[in-house]
Every structure is written in structure tokens, then in C-alpha cells.
Symmetry: C2
Subunit: 225 residues, 2 copies
């Protein structure tokens, strides 16, 4: 028989506690806390959500994440950036770049982003996340339009010319395998909320990209409780 453990006693909830089996865990009690997402949103004057920035290496994801973070902070909003690379220093340090580990990497970032959105924060997640099914799984975690997908739709040749980490060079010479855009596919979003593109042959500046997302957030009511 599978082991039954619990990680927390009775919570001061009105409803009857619900026991359930989740994945490999049995007898898990769900604790409701009387302070919820809407209370935290009122405190912060914003709606918790996830801005999920996806695109090729070198497409400007982190640059947009930083610029957006800055613009929102200057307007008095609480934001937090989850960067795919940075999380590999901590939460995801046990994961490699093989296929199932990349999927698990994205799953965990999605789950953590969901917690941040629940905390009332505008969470900016920045990672290549090349496969549609992985991104859609994260979207499914966040109902009610709380998942805002931003596609960095810049041509491969521009990303490769930037090559900020020299990784395209290594991929082209076969020194790394399975590199997104070279010998592994990138599946663009089909119905993403925001697309960042070149205009008149020019790449948008960090500020222009941030403004585009900011306008979306403003127009859709995320910047008020």
C-alpha cells in the first residue's frame, strides 16, 4: 500500500476538508487560507498574472523582461522576473537539457509562476519554451486570462547575428546538438496575446517592447485591482 503522510494539520476553514490523491501523493489535504488572491490584489492595486515571454535564443526575451519589470516598478507595481537561466541555478539545478528535463523545467517554471500570480504579483517568465504543448500546459494552469503569451517573433538570422552567448556558433559547428532554431524546432504560438516584431526593418527598442506589453496590461485591466 502506498504511504499516506500529511504535511499540515487542520486549517481554520469553514468548508469540510477535502482529501485527495494527487500524482504520487495520497491523502493530501487542501488548506484554504482566509486571505486570498483578491485580498492581495486589493493591497497591491493590480491583478496577479503571468507574462510568458517565449522565443529563440537571442530574440530579446530577457531584455524585454528587464525593461518591462523596470517600467512596471516605476509605476508602483510589484513584479517578479522568473528567468529560465537563473532558475537553473536554484530550483531547477537538478535538470539537464535533455528533452524530458526541458519539459520538466518549463512545468516547474509554470507552477512557480502560478504561485506568484496567486500572490497578486505580475510575474514575468522568460524562457525559450520552444514547444507549444509545454507552453499550453502552463496556460492551462492559469485560467481566467491570467496567462499572457508574448512571442518574440524575430527572424532567426537576427538572433543568430546577435548570438550573445556564442551558442549559435557552437550549434552550427555541431559542437552542441538539439539547439532551438538550428537542429531543434521552435513552434510559434498560434493564438498568443502579444507578438513582438520588427517594424520597417528595425528591431524594436527595449522600451518600445515594454510599452507594447504595458499597453496590453493596462487595456485589459491588470494594472488595477
Amino acid at each position: 500500500m502506498e504511504q499516506h503522510h500529511g504535511d499540515g494539520p487542520r486549517s481554520p476553514v469553514k468548508e469540510k476538508p477535502v482529501m485527495s490523491n494527487i500524482g504520487k501523493s495520497t491523502n493530501i489535504l487542501w488548506h484554504n487560507c482566509p486571505i486570498g488572491q483578491s485580498d492581495r490584489q486589493k493591497l497591491l492595486g493590480q491583478k496577479g498574472c503571468v507574462v510568458w515571454i517565449t522565443g529563440l535564443s537571442g530574440s530579446g526575451k530577457s531584455t524585454l523582461a528587464c525593461a518591462l519589470n523596470r517600467e512596471l516598478h516605476y509605476r508602483g507595481h510589484l513584479t517578479y522576473v522568473l528567468d529560465g537561466d537563473n532558475l537553473r541555478h536554484g530550483l531547477n539545478r537538478d535538470l539537464s537539457f535533455k528533452a524530458e528535463d526541458r519539459a520538466e523545467n518549463i512545468r516547474r517554471v509554470g507552477e512557480v509562476a502560478k504561485l506568484f500570480a496567486d500572490a497578486g504579483i505580475i510575474c514575468i517568465a522568460s524562457l525559450i519554451s520552444p514547444y507549444r504543448r509545454d507552453r499550453d500546459a502552463c496556460r492551462a494552469l492559469l485560467p481566467d486570462s491570467k496567462f499572457i503569451e508574448v512571442f518574440m517573433d524575430l527572424p532567426l538570422k537576427i538572433c543568430e547575428a546577435r548570438d550573445p552567448k556564442g551558442l549559435y556558433k557552437l550549434a552550427r559547428t555541431g559542437k552542441i546538438k538539439g539547439f532551438t532554431g538550428i537542429d531543434d524546432p521552435y513552434e510559434p504560438p498560434v493564438n498568443g496575446e502579444i507578438v513582438i516584431q520588427m517594424k520597417d526593418g528595425e528591431c524594436p527598442s527595449p522600451k518600445e517592447m515594454a510599452r507594447q506589453v504595458l499597453c496590453y496590461l493596462e487595456e485589459n485591466g491588470y494594472l488595477q485591482a
Copy 2:
């Protein structure tokens, strides 16, 4: 050769980007964002930290977490509860209760709590976390006194009498194995910051427990930026 991927391009940082190998990941670039923890703390008027509540099943961890959450919210502070059970519905749904999975469960909660503290939030983590080495590993993630260990020092017989989920009963009849306090050890903190105990033979009320932690936070400057 191990694969080298990157999850984000150049960031608008002043310092030179630093490439490093972390765990199973190679060529990971660390992105610094110009908005940091201290900016978020100023915005929130508090210091990000982790209140780590540890103790037996039935010792009142979730009850304290909820009460503390409520008290802090009413004072205008942003808090978030990471509950061991709740996370097993999401981030940790792939983990069972076998020894290495319990350790991994605690490691991930510690890493996520660290992110929340970095976001400026007072993060309340509530989980049995029976082994000293697992808790100390989480403490090590959070330097500068940002890890506040709260030990629910209530006698086993009281926790067992409460038995909110009927798990002690199952453990006593051998229907579950390796249950903390019955056939698996609980290692109490040695130099924890806060100890919750009975007074004059009475268990403290949720409010009393919350006040004790609140006083600690206030006296140690966490409730201001």
C-alpha cells in the same frame, strides 16, 4: 559532450555576463535586472523573508500559517503561504513520500520560498520537514537572517490526540509506514528563532501563536523596508 543551451539573451546589465556550470546545466548566463530586492522592499514597506514553520503532523503549522498570514495582511503586509500539502497538488505532484522525494520536496519549497523572499514578500512555509539537514539546507539558501525557523514544540500525545487527518491512527495500526513521530524521527531545531510551546498546560491559540511570530518580525525590523 554535454549540451549547451541558453534560455535568454543578453541582459541590459552593466557588469560582464558570467557563464557558469550549475548542476547538470552548462553555459548558464546569470541575468541581473536593474530592479532588485531592495527596490521591491521599499515598494512594499517590509523586508522579504521566509518564516519556516516545522513540527509534527497535528502540531498546528497550517493553523499558525493562516493566522499569521491574516494578521500581517490586516497590517498591510504582503505575505504568501507555501503549504507542503498544497504544493503537492502542483509543483511537487511528481514526488512521492519516499525518503529522497521528501528531501526533494523540501528543497523545492526552500528554493521557491527564496524566490518569494527575493520578491520582497514575507513567505510563510509550513511543512513537517522532520530532518535538520533538509531545513539547514533551506536556511543556507537564505543568508542575512532571512530564514526564520519556527518550531511547533507540542507533545506528540497532543498532536496524536488531534489527529486531524486520521493519519496517526493509520500509522499506529501499521497501515502507513515511516510516519514522522511514530516510526520515523522528528529532529527538533537546535538554534531556531522561535519556539511555540504550551503554557500552563494549555496550547496557545492561533492568535497567540501569530502574535509571537509577529513580535519577532517587528522587533527584528522585517515590517519596514
